[in-house]
Subunit: 404 residues, 2 copies
């Protein structure tokens, strides 16, 4: 079988014509030595696609980027950590615009060519002067190996930076896709305190890029959940500068399909890294609902199980408590028939026809001792299914989130 | 002003013609010396009303009691702790029927005159023989001061028993209402791992009793939430034997209004006790959403805030983090306009017009140090409001719920 794509180093600067850099502007308290400001640029005008939080309370940078996204000659993404610039009113909007403008001026671009993202605490004004003062150094530092420092600069409570790149061998030339992301805490379907920047040198129309980006987000970031909360700032941006020497990719073409497949892979890998870095978690659990009457039923049941505090506590305790899973399925509003439900841990039956299975409890307990396992819930009512990737709930999660 | 009612001792045996008792049947492991089986009877045929869990997975006793509730000559409620008799299939139904039957035989009643409730772990067959063997002693022990032992026998992880009674002075005779309840963990709107038994000597039709019971449950048990989960066994039962020497109460009458008011009070007090006994919690928080465009909006926003893990962690940390509250309001699907939202802790503004208020953070932190406080969220879009009573999320909650 032909290799569809393979992983390479370099993150968002792996594709042709991208550079990146990061600096410390001082958004965080004086004692922190961490970089807090990152910049990714395309040396050529690029088309951009994005999906933003579905939260009705949207941060200022989300609003500004959504407006700037109408341009078809995007060049840069600037992002800061340490302050979300959310719930900051008209001052927040001004500050987000000034953040884009600072980069535009330094690089001789129009403001609309710069997208802007923020992550951090909600409700405090962005120290915009600090950011403006740092932009010249940020631009001066741009280099073709800068992906990792940006991936690190946008981290908040993340314990490791999240970065990936792939190369797709195509007749004529290779296409590359690079990505970085930050997450940790407040991770839920519909994008949550999550930033993801994808770069590619693929030649593709803005319209097709948006279609593929939306589809990939649905299959990746919208399938991970840590605590069911959704943030005001979530943004996934994909920019394509067309520098790979192949014809523009169109639906139905071989190149298009391979690109779509690789983009899915990139986003799924980043989404998994985010869950694996969930605050204080110890278990990584795939919840797979199948046999549902409808897709929505499968989704509702999977999300109810994945977000149930009691189910997540039982996982932390390595307790194969299927009653709590039945309970969550029952209140999920999905159509279910109790006597049809089978539940499996890593394929081993815990529940058959809605009743305790004959599997010895110790066999199930041993599976729960693994760091990763799958919970499969077969409703036996149809053929719809849904998968979501989640974690346990731990005392450390609570301690981690009890303060700023 | 006339006293509408006042509290008295005696719980469910305070009203005329009720007796109760409890025994240890051995449902729990051999080492536990706790009673696990309770019985409340009316010495006269009574009308009964009930609300049951809305979970689609309903425990066997819920199904059996719902059927028995069609009778208009109810005499008894039998309840066990230690086993939920949920997800137990046809054996479970048989066992729930046998539990009612055991009481009926011993007292010379029809099976339908006995309601049955269970609470405990899901998915294990009820040790019905142990229960049947214990019923003669249970019946022999019935006495007019037995309320407290039943309140204790139905406790699972509860740390204190929940009991109340009130007397309503009326021209002619006094009417009494008594109640016991159990809760702790898995407490959520729509009734959750919650049992509540209310007795009264009021003369009232079955139809009116059901109306008042449903309304009171909506204003009490459906307004408390600990973790957002909903159980398979939740049941609130109200039985009225008409032994108070007053005319049958009808809507529009003074006696009916006073009774309704007192019944509300009884259920609200029991609901508050349940939240105050939430597993491992340290804060008791009233979330009050007002100024919503619709009642459903107010409810959705209040429940999103009350069930947000991140908001609850911040309360545990005594952090007046209003950004997480804004975030939850934003994803609640309620209609909101960010720039209209005010948030108050105990009436002190944390957020005004969607922005950080001028209140010094230390003033807010001091409020969060209290064991009880109110979070008021004014959406300024209409006049609908909703209140829900909830708790923080603590490391102890997680530890408590990690195993059986």
């Amino acid at each position: 079988m032909e290799t569809a794509f393979f992983e390479i180093a370099g993150g968002v600067t792996a594709p042709k014509g991208f550079r990146a850099s990061a600096v410390r502007s001082g958004i965080r308290e004086a004692l922190s030595a961490r970089n807090d400001l990152g910049l990714v640029i395309s040396d050529f005008p690029a088309v951009a696609a994005a999906t933003f939080t579905t939260n009705k309370i949207k941060a200022a940078p989300v609003r500004v980027s959504a407006a700037h996204l109408r341009a078809s000659d995007t060049r840069a993404i600037i992002a800061n950590s340490g302050n979300a610039n959310a719930c900051t009113g008209s001052t927040g909007i001004q500050n987000a615009k000034r953040m884009a403008q600072a980069v535009a001026r330094q690089l001789g671009l129009k403001d609309r060519q710069v997208l802007v993202c923020s992550t951090g605490r909600i409700g405090r004004d962005l120290p915009i002067e600090k950011i403006e003062m740092a932009v010249p150094a940020l631009v001066a530092g741009l280099n073709s190996g800068g992906s990792e420092v940006v991936a690190r600069a946008i981290m908040t409570s993340d314990t490791f930076h999240k970065e990936i790149a792939v190369e797709i061998p195509l007749a004529g030339a290779n296409v590359r896709i690079g990505g970085i992301a930050k997450g940790a805490g407040m991770i839920n379907p519909d994008m949550a305190t999550m930033l993801c920047f994808i770069t590619t040198d693929a030649p593709i129309s803005k319209r097709e890029l948006q279609k593929l980006t939306s589809a990939s987000v649905e299959q990746s970031f919208n399938r991970v959940t840590v605590d069911g909360d959704m943030s005001t700032n979530d943004t996934a941006i994909c920019i394509a500068n067309g520098q790979a020497a192949i014809p523009v990719m169109e639906p139905g073409q071989h190149s298009y399909d391979k690109f779509a497949q690789a983009l899915n892979f990139v986003m799924r890998q980043l989404a998994r890294m985010i869950v694996e870095d969930g605050e204080g978690v110890t278990k990584f659990v795939e919840v797979h609902v199948k046999g549902a009457a409808t897709y929505q039923d499968a989704r509702k049941a999977a999300e109810a199980v994945a977000n149930s505090m009691l189910v997540k506590c039982a996982w932390y305790g390595e307790d194969p408590n299927w009653g709590r899973i039945m309970d969550a399925v029952g209140y999920s509003s999905a159509k279910v028939r109790e006597e049809m439900i089978d539940i499996f841990f890593d394929g081993v039956a815990a529940t058959q026809h809605g009743l305790l299975s004959s599997t010895p409890e110790n066999t199930l307990k041993e599976i729960l001792r693994n760091k990763k396992f799958t919970v499969t819930i077969d409703l036996h009512l149809g053929s719809a299914e849904y998968k979501v990737f989640t974690t346990d709930l731990t005392p450390e999660y609570v301690k981690f989130n009890m303060g700023e």
